[in-house]
Subunit: 295 residues, 4 copies
């Protein structure tokens, strides 16, 4: 059965037709039609207004609650995840496993009115490294639970995939959760395609004097766009993110346990803990503006 | 290809067989085998240990963050959702739309170590009513985003279905979210089977002197189990929940907007707002022990 | 133990009937309001029209594609999942693991117009058993990927929980899948709360002369509704499903592998394969009308 | 505008080839470490073995079941979605809405053993167009329900986002579904972020003599990679997909209805139907090898 087409009604001719205007004495030149520029937008999908774009352009503001575990990997394994321009730096094998529950918005802040759009969970691994003596962090694996931050990660070179990420939320009342800014236990889990790949427990006991080191250095990514055309070289650009308005809440720290299950994800097992250090819980915010090439 | 069966190895006979014991002079009576009682558990699935049960038995401890909007429905519509034992009470048409992000645990608190199990979002509608002059609240519709609280709802008579529930989270730092216990804006959305059915915006401006009324009265449910056998009468039991350890955080209140879209859900449109009142944001905790029949 | 339904008592006629009021002199008679009966429906949520009910009443028509693996469990383990009224029958330890992709509809067939509502995947385990010499099958565990069949399972006593269920689909063209009704390989996987719990591979090579035995006998469930009120006995009713219009397509059979991972689900490990038999692929349809008590 | 790839420079051959080293008099020489090349892979995440890559390299084999509706959009609206290199061709405003359930695999076919990885649903809109007189199809919007085909879409310039896509499956037996290759009704629905955006009903009545035109022409995409670095021009490359091994099953056709709801997606409303034509149901397979630039 055919849907009846919704056509614009045919306009009736006006009762008194407008008089045909006389040509001006000196005709203005006929403007050439504007060059058609086609649909646009910061990302796909391109559209006439540009507003269909899956991504808004940066800057993006982020605020979140973080559960973080310091740990150590085999330094050779860490090195095998670094591009040649980076080296391990003074603390080879230093690593972190980080859970975060984020809220984000564009410059307009419009997304904050749609909590189903502006919230996501994230889990990532960081490896300590250096670029020409400058301390940085490399993210070999990351998962989020919303497609927008996933694609946004690929624009910057951050290898975000989709997973199911959960972490303990502090509660203001009752016994079903720890308190914010107090001693207590925070857990995190990650599952990817029906396999649990990471699990941590952090028992914070006291306020720390400074934020955990690996959360204070710039991230260095290999911005990658796979080859598709015959003979094309893939994009592989070493970049660092440009971040402002970094804020930490008070940081609570304590002991931690961490398990990574590498069976389901090739090469993830290389980054399993050889030792587990302190755990941390804190609020964090930043504004992300774009990247800069490391050259 | 057949998986090789994993059988227990056949035990070798002992080198020196144990001597055959002589029969006692007065034999003990041969014990009859215990009556087999079958698999058990608080709920399905029943299993030998009882630990496969989808639900743990009550009590359950809950703590959560709530975004609530007072509103009014047509009193006749409200009445049409009440069983005959209940009436509208002194404020006919008083209603509330409530978003909450919960954490819960059983008496053992074991679930708190698995954030993917102990967290869920909930949206529900409450209608003011009375049972024999006692103020109560009736929940005609509720949605959660996890199957365990859904089934647990059905055990108590609460009509929980599955949906996608989101609400603004307060943040400690940055610009991507309001602060806890302060003026700010909180939004909530609900989608069911790919249709958005509810949306609210609450702008809290000051601390309230008391919690919102409809969140302080007992819930009254019709505990229902559908008929399945020929001639069976369905269970339809009027019950009230037994709750202890209620805690409210400070409550912040202000103005609110609310939209319910009843197109996708039969009869939901009857409960659309005819007026929208104040909005509230607060933390809440309770322990749920079971129910009692109203007779 | 059967839960006694709590019905509204039939009101006795008053001892002294109220006097018949005299008719007014002139009168449109004021109609007396109908006795308010309250909201209704086959299941929760109850509503004025009854159409908010999550479940439609039976009968329900099902049609689906099945991938099934015959296997054997330890007979003592199988027995430990049977209520005392059932015994293992002539083939102790016979079991099956079954994947299915279903479409269903009520008598009206309305659901078929909403593929997001009428489709679901299912995985279940069956154990051979007997009730008073009558061959039946017991389902100790089942998972589906949609809440409606989950709740519908609980009404009948089938222990359905939510999981992620996938199985190979046959394709009419191309190389990315086997053909329907032909030799080929079919795989199935199940994940629950981020853990893979079952995986099978079936390589069918020839048409079978009859359907696999465990898919042809009635299911026997313990219809269970947990206790909620003080002193209440939970409903625990031994029932068999009433099914008509059973149809099998041609059945293709061959070899199979099967793995159950019991780590994530208490007592599931008891039902791990001690041997794996044949695999089967077929289409199946039935109409489910309700249940009958086994007494 | 093409983004200049940042490649490792091709090393020039040494001017004077190194002499073949004489064997040392004593000692196993200390081998110099191999030049470290860093982690690799076809896409992010890069890893030592390259096997962490979210995407396998092409070719990819696809097979699926398609429900397709021919319809017409306002030609000016269609034109506004075309880049300047394309024009509307001889049938301005011809469009199609296409639902498909796919299975895919890489050259190794490994993915077919993991049905949770190799299956996805897709919905897309196609617009008739021409490139230098060559008939092609432009895809302004597409949604899939799995992240791997989503990212793979972005590599080729296809604007795939995540959504919930459902379509009627034919069944071999019973009354809960139509038969494959026969008259019957097939429905499709799409929801994005909790909003239903498309719905179609196709009632096929007879076998068609040829496949629907818009499913037989090459797709032309604008391969896009957003700008991230200061002053960077985004990649925006007009490409056509290179496809082989196209197979159609028999095609059944009939009448159709179609509704697009553009409220939730900017600019989608521009492509709402002004008329709805025939509907089609068929199986389809192809192998996708990469792209070629249109110049």
């Amino acid at each position: 059965m055919t849907q009846s087409p919704t056509l614009a009604p045919i306009p009736s001719p006006p009762a008194h037709p407008a008089p045909i205007p006389s040509p001006p004495a000196h005709p203005a030149p006929i403007p050439s039609p504007p060059a058609r520029t086609g649909p646009g937008g910061y990302s796909l999908p391109l559209s006439p207004s540009g507003r269909s774009s899956m991504l808004t352009p940066p800057p993006w503001h982020f605020a979140g609650e973080v559960v973080m575990v310091d740990y150590r990997v085999d330094p050779d394994a860490a090195a095998s995840f670094l591009p040649p321009e980076l080296d391990l730096g003074p603390d080879p094998g230093a690593a972190a496993a980080i859970w975060a529950q984020w809220q984000w918005c564009s410059e307009s802040a419009d997304e904050l009115g749609s909590p189903q759009r502006c919230q996501f969970g994230e889990f990532l691994i960081l490896l300590a490294c250096e670029y020409r003596g400058r301390p940085m962090a490399r993210c070999p694996f990351a998962w989020v639970d919303h497609p927008v931050p996933m694609v946004r990660g690929w624009v910057q070179g951050m290898p975000k995939q989709l997973g199911a990420i959960h972490q303990t939320r502090p509660m203001r009342v009752g016994s079903a959760g720890p308190r914010l800014g107090a001693a207590g236990r925070f857990d995190g889990t990650v599952a990817v395609e029906g396999r649990q790949i990471a699990q941590a427990s952090v028992v914070v006991t006291e306020e720390a004097v400074r934020p955990p080191a690996l959360h204070t250095v710039p991230l260095v990514h290999t911005r990658t766009f796979p080859a598709w055309l015959p003979g094309e070289e893939p994009l592989a650009q070493l970049v660092s993110s440009t971040v402002t308005d970094v804020e930490f809440s008070e940081v609570w720290s304590g002991s931690a346990s961490l398990r990574l299950d590498g069976d389901a994800i090739p090469d993830l097992g290389l980054l399993a803990p050889v030792a587990v250090g302190a755990g941390h819980v804190f609020g964090y915010a930043e504004t992300l503006h774009g990247g800069s090439a490391l050259t």
